[in-house]
């Protein structure tokens, strides 16, 4: 990831010959001084309006009363929305759920991605075929796959319970996956894992292929078999990418919305279960903002989530420096 590799600017083109007319000179100056800004302007303007402004304006909204059902309830709220957040059991519950699902989905996801990347990191017949094949889940629309999984995890005729019954579990009383925290978290984590394993495997694969061959040759002296080769050479060598994917999963995982939303048998309610057993923060923001019409409070939640993501990402950045710097 050469995110910060900024190269020096190329030399500027030679000035036109002195015989050029005034108009040409003006045109030349315009073309070299102004046009570059015009080229980058669309990005900055559009991003400012639809990316940056909402984020900042969100902070303003979070300090106000702002309701969708009552235009008269307006005005500054001070820290009211934030102090309410601290004592809101629903918020803490959602935060707990978000982290729980996050861990259940990140750890197996990255481990399995490593294993698959290691498989792909061989001389194979049909290299492209296998690489494309692991991307099937990635291109499947999350709404489509989640609706399928919602059916997969049904109590009475769901396939998950059928598999369980094959190994002797729950033949009499099939498991109601949506009823409890642990089971609903597993179901949702399964969907997230399914979708992202292949994608991460390709990220790892590209890092693995960048490992210099002599590293492996040197290790041959120790007599490392394929398994030890993977865990003792390959994985340490690609650690920066691993940390990078952890950061990515953090940002994605803490905003998890689609899967928990559509896992509900009545998605429109955004409840995340009868007792909010799997309601994530992003879902709660949707519910508070667009079902309870309390945009001010929803904005405060968004900002709180933003700060949480920043903190977690900062921790990850520290880890990156510590582990990545050793190389």
């Amino acid at each position: 990831m050469s995110l910060t590799q900024l190269r020096p600017a190329p030399p500027s083109p030679q000035r036109p010959t002195a015989s050029a007319g005034k108009a040409t000179l003006w045109w030349h100056r315009f073309d070299t001084r102004t046009v570059p800004y015009l080229l980058i302007a669309p990005f900055f303007v559009l991003f400012a309006i639809f990316g940056l402004f909402p984020l900042i304006f969100n902070a303003v909204v979070s300090l106000r009363h702002w309701r969708l059902d009552d235009a008269d309830k307006t005005g500054w709220a001070g820290a009211e929305n934030y102090s309410r957040l601290l004592t809101d059991a629903d918020f803490w519950n959602a935060l707990f759920n978000t982290f729980g699902i996050f861990i259940l989905s990140t750890v197996p996801q990255l481990v399995l991605a490593l294993l698959i990347a290691n498989l792909l990191n061989h001389r194979l017949r049909g290299t492209t075929f296998w690489r494309v094949a692991v991307l099937l889940p990635y291109v499947t629309p999350v709404a489509a796959s989640t609706l399928l999984f919602a059916m997969f995890f049904q109590t009475d005729s769901g396939m998950a319970n059928w598999f369980l019954s094959l190994v002797g579990f729950g033949e009499e009383n099939p498991l109601n996956w949506r009823a409890e925290k642990w089971s609903s978290w597993i179901a949702i984590a399964t969907m997230v894992n399914w979708k992202w394993i292949g994608y991460n495997a390709l990220l790892y694969l590209s890092a693995m292929q960048a490992i210099p061959r002599d590293v492996y040759e040197a290790a041959a002296v120790d007599g490392a078999g394929p398994q030890r080769q993977l865990w003792q050479i390959t994985v340490p060598m690609i650690q920066p990418v691993v940390i990078f994917t952890v950061v990515l999963s953090t940002i994605g995982g803490l905003q998890l919305f689609n899967e928990p939303m559509l896992f509900d048998e009545n998605p429109a309610l955004a409840n995340g279960g009868s007792d909010h057993q799997w309601q994530t923060i992003a879902q709660l923001i949707y519910q508070v903002g667009w079902r309870d019409y309390n945009l001010g409070y929803a904005a405060a939640m968004s900002w709180a989530l933003f700060l949480i993501i920043l903190v977690v990402a900062a921790i990850n950045a520290l880890l990156t420096r510590r582990f990545g710097g050793g190389r």
């Binding site: 009475d156 009823a179 048998e265 009545n266 429109a268």
Partner: protein, 428 residues
């Protein structure tokens, strides 16, 4: 790299600007709104509704009678429909030209009567004589604006499966079945007997006892001062549903969700509390059970659950046409047809005496005389005041009942939790 040819690429690059311009210009197509003009004087009314209100038939007839007006129907999930409407009323744009509103949300909306067209301004005041007085008042704001014309009322009865009753050795005749359960306690006892013999569950879910029992109470969640009154009617209704769950007669499904719908076809329950509008739902969900259902009296007698109005949000650009549609949809001819095809009971007492209603036999429901059955309950209705936050409150308490059904809460711990959740909903 064969994927994008050079030529195609250039064309694409050149086309971008053009595309954006087109996207901007055809803003009409992209933006829509309820007023897309097509042809001379041709207007389209956007009509939002939920469930089944006989809208297809009304649309067809209305378009025939008014060739210059097209109807665009748009349905959504029950809660989402109302919440979306509320959102758009305040946003000041995006609301449909005509919107159905259920009684559970009416009180909240009629407090914002300015967001609706006052139908009295469009000469619909004369419709008052058609209506049950409480239905007419139900959609009238405190300052005398009429924001909707009533469609149906949800007079209560109890639907039951004759085939399953027979197999369990219970009577199958309407009157005999009604005699089984004069009270809710007797109803639960009957359920126990059924479950014992058939080894099947009797009712679909606790929430479908809670709602009708609550509907029979003089005061519901809120009193007319908008104070939450959990210890009154809600407690009575909640206790009945807990008792039924404890008795082991509930299939513990969640109403209006996929598992529940499958329960209809899988014989997962034998009775279902039936407001008139539920008949439409049964027919659509389980067409295969035709002729296996019949209708008896509801325990406890009477009660109203649900029932709607057609309203015209003030944002409409076609208030006149929209009012015309509302008037048309609530005319006796249409209301009788909706009653016959869907089951919804009209809110116009004159129709209860109409032979078309009185003599009607509902083929799907074993030829039950639904006109007589529901008309009888409708006339004796005692309307209950429903608070502004009634919809949200009900959904919260229903979720607590679901938690009990999922085995996460004992029936004794459930009530405090229900009070807590209702309190949250009231202050949300």
């Amino acid at each position: 790299m064969k994927f994008v040819g050079r030529r195609a690429l250039r064309a694409a690059a050149a086309g971008v600007a053009a595309t954006l311009v087109i996207a901007g210009c055809s803003g009409q197509a992209l933006e829509g709104g309820g007023d897309s003009e097509g042809g001379e004087g041709q207007i389209t009314l956007k009509v939002n509704f939920f469930g089944d209100m006989g809208q297809e038939m009304i649309k067809e007839r209305f378009e025939k009678a008014n060739p210059n007006i097209k109807i665009a129907l748009n349905s959504a999930e029950f809660n989402a429909h109302h919440e979306d409407l509320q959102k758009k009323l305040v946003a000041g744009s995006g609301a449909p030209d005509v919107a159905a509103v259920d009684e559970g949300f009416m009180v909240g909306l009629k407090n914002q009567a300015d967001n609706f067209v006052n139908l009295l301004d469009h000469g619909l005041g004369s419709a008052e004589s058609r209506y049950l007085p409480w239905k007419w008042k139900g959609s009238m704001s405190a300052d005398g604006k009429q924001i909707g014309l009533g469609t149906d009322v949800g007079g209560l009865a109890m639907c039951y499966r004759t085939d399953l009753f027979k197999a369990a050795g219970l009577p199958t005749e309407r009157d005999q079945v009604s005699a089984l359960w004069p009270t809710w306690d007797a109803f639960i006892e009957t359920g126990k007997k059924y479950t014992e013999t058939s080894k099947k569950k009797f009712i679909d879910s606790g929430t479908n006892l809670f709602n009708p029992v609550l509907a029979q109470q003089p005061v519901g969640f809120y009193n007319e001062q908008e104070q939450l009154q959990m210890e009154g009617g809600p407690k009575v209704a909640f206790d009945v549903s807990m008792k039924a769950i404890d008795a082991g007669i509930s299939a513990n499904l969640v109403s209006f969700q996929p598992g529940w719908n499958q329960g209809f076809t899988g014989d997962k329950f034998a009775v279902l509390a039936c407001p008139a509008w539920m008949l439409g739902h049964i027919q659509q969900t389980a067409p295969g059970t035709k002729g296996k259902w019949d209708i008896a009296a509801i325990p406890g007698g009477g009660g109203n659950w649900g029932g709607s109005w057609w309203t015209v949000p003030a944002q409409t650009k076609h208030a006149e046409a929209a009012a015309k549609f509302v008037d048309f949809a609530t005319q006796p001819e249409q209301q009788i047809e909706v009653f016959k095809t869907v089951g919804n009971l009209p809110s116009q007492p004159a129709l209860y005496k109409d032979p078309a209603v009185l003599d009607f036999k509902h083929e799907f429901m074993s030829n039950a005389p639904t006109g007589q059955i529901f008309a009888k309950t409708a006339e004796s209705l005692q309307p209950q005041y429903l608070g502004k936050k009634n919809g949200k409150t009900r959904e919260s308490v229903e979720r607590v009942i679901t938690q009990v059904q999922e085995g996460k809460l004992t029936t004794s711990d459930a009530w405090p939790k229900a009070v807590e959740e209702a309190g949250k909903a009231a202050s949300s």
